[in-house]
Symmetry: C2
Subunit: 403 residues, 2 copies
């Protein structure tokens, strides 16, 4: 992540973006649980949403509004997913946006909404609505870090990333925040991610860049195999950087695309690192596959295998589970050609065991980031996926979550 | 499983079948680790094999031989999967069958072979070959129960089932044994299953019956999301019952089909119940789906969801995770119609929460078999899937397995 500068500010790093938070007491604990992101001018907006058939109410509201391509604010709550609440859920989600719109003095249609938390419980609107007003009263250009905290559920640390590029002599900033932790799987997990940029760009180009960025970042993260009802990634671009509009397949677009991918990748890796109960980040690289799809399938399957994840937790150089996971992934490869590495230590050659150094393999398994590399030696495509180890704490957290 | 009679004998229950075992010390522990199944006459043979691209050597040997439709013996070892061992693995697997064939005085081509255990380590042939000879010397019509023990790895109990039916006045017996425990997922898990029957039936009809039985039984079991390199289900039918040959879509075929499905279902449920670290069997029923495929997809996704499994372990009536898993399964249904029950307690109606009795839900969650029912209210198709809870012990077992 060399291109991620050491910048702070998250969703308020880019010009014209502000954020405010409130502690509404949604889950009966004293934790920031409402965040409001606001752009001083209307922004173009694009989003990516869960593929789950069961979609939470705020997604339905946001998907409908974002189809117009414009937004000026996003109101978010943690502690309750507002999913499986029927018509009441929809009207509650709308009421959240109406309250934010009134407080900010902008049209309701320009307010998007997101929720994360327990499924199947009604939103406590008597707490949520005052919280939204409080958050709106607290917005400031310095609010990004607090907003990143307010959207956390079982996350153990807030996730932010910022990147700056120069386009035609103007500095363009891309900032973002995310929450993850559990119920994470490719094709969007229980993940909320908000990206804000002051770039001038049309909505179609923003949407295209976002889709490509997500494919290489969030869709390559897996914590468990559960794809949530509430996943949402929304990007707002308000144009205040004053750059010449980024268009088509220009060099400027490529630069913007790369930086957006970097921001998303940084946030996605943070999500994997902070998977529920995780002690290690697992990074799986597939090299020399026949196609990107083959590489991605295999990388994701290895990163997502419960048996690989448990072996990493146990610091066991059990490479058989790695090739086995690649084998059931649907990826097209020849098992008799595969080389496997744990960090820099090669543990299998042409699909067979090597007499490798268990000691050196253990060194790599002991590091915070465990790198697993599969070389298919068939083509030129590659992919990287991220996951985390499977631990006693994952079980504990998820056996107790609702209680 | 009413139709499973209280019969014993497993793979040696049917006429003409014998089994022998040996303790070869493959994994350096004193446990039976070689099993040999033998039919006094050549039998027709059909099999179902892992869909994993990476197939262990014994599978490759067995798949090739079974394509001829005939077999007379099966030699099996536990403690080592003989997977990812290249050409050496193939020649070792063949040598196992050659040793068994010599000892039994039958053609090598009629001996099938299976292995289960750690991937990527060479078979210790100096221990395996004497073990095969010892097992061949020990075969007897009473050997079924010991064979079921010999194929266990992390299983905590042996799995056997026997069923008897009458066809044209002749008693036909179908017996079976299986091993499961970890690396279990639909489309065959790390599962070995051997079915023996004295029915007279052609190989094509046996294969057809077996395929249907597997779809409703083993392919509806999930312990984790890992599909192994070694899964194999082989059925031998030696004709010694003396029944009129079971053919086509006759009533006799239907009876045979149902009984075979019962034997497979009983073994599959035992595998789920004995999932690594499991304390509970989870049975998921989907009712009134648009198609069998929709019902199966949803049932399997719910039974396989880490979050549902952890919630069952924690005895948490977190039905949101149930509908969420159905939602990402690819099953076609309307979330706003779904009713959900835990045992007899309805917890959701039309996709929304009910004010259900947590106390009564807890009673059902406390039982050894936790029944989850989803009523889609859309069509007439149904399916049942089985899984187990996700526990601290699953993590412990799989973090330590190879060591």
């Amino acid at each position: 992540m060399d291109s991620i500068n050491n910048l702070s500010g998250g969703v308020t790093a880019a010009s014209g973006f502000q954020a405010g938070v409130a502690t509404a007491g949604i889950k009966n604990i004293q934790k920031k649980d409402i965040a409001l992101i606001y752009s001083t001018v209307p922004a173009v907006a694009a989003g990516v949403f869960t593929t789950n058939t069961v979609k939470a109410a705020p997604l339905l509201v946001t998907m409908q509004r974002i189809s117009k391509g414009k937004a000026q604010a996003i109101v978010v709550n943690s502690g309750n997913a507002n999913a499986c609440n029927g018509d009441q859920g929809i009207s509650d989600a709308r009421e959240m946006t109406a309250a934010a719109a009134r407080a900010l003095g902008i049209p309701e249609e320009l307010v998007l909404v997101a929720s994360t938390g327990v499924i199947g419980q009604k939103l406590p609107m008597d707490k949520v609505l005052p919280g939204v007003l409080e958050a709106a009263g607290a917005i400031s250009p310095a609010g990004g870090a607090m907003a990143a905290e307010a959207i956390m559920t079982t996350d153990t640390f807030p996730k932010e990333a910022v990147c700056q590029i120069e386009i035609n002599g103007k500095v363009v900033t891309i900032g973002g925040m995310a929450k993850g932790a559990g119920m994470m799987h490719p094709n969007m997990a229980t993940m909320l991610c908000f990206i804000t940029t002051d770039a001038a760009i049309d909505v179609a180009d923003l949407a295209r860049a976002l889709k490509r960025a997500v494919e290489q970042s969030f869709n390559m993260v897996t914590v468990d195999h559960d794809t949530s009802t509430n996943d949402m990634l929304v990007a707002l671009a308000n144009g205040l950087a004053g750059n010449k509009k980024i268009v088509g397949e220009s060099k400027a677009f490529q630069l913007f695309q790369d930086s957006l991918t970097d921001v998303c990748t940084s946030l996605a890796m943070d999500i994997a690192r902070d998977g529920e109960g995780a002690t290690k980040l697992i990074q799986v690289e597939v090299r020399n596959a026949l196609s990107i799809l083959d590489a991605r399938r295999a990388a994701r399957a290895v990163a997502g295998s419960n048996l690989v994840k448990a072996a990493v937790f146990g610091r066991d150089a059990n490479w058989g589970r790695i090739i086995c996971a690649a084998g059931y992934s649907g990826s097209n490869f020849d098992p008799n050609l595969v080389d496997i590495f744990l960090g820099d230590e090669q543990v299998a050659s042409n699909g067979c065991s090597l007499n490798f150094s268990e000691e050196r393999a253990l060194e790599f398994l002991n590091s915070d980031t465990v790198r697993i590399i599969l070389d298919f030696k068939m083509g030129e495509a590659g992919a990287v996926a991220w996951g985390c180890d499977l631990t006693y704490d994952y079980v504990r957290i998820n056996a107790e979550y609702r209680s």
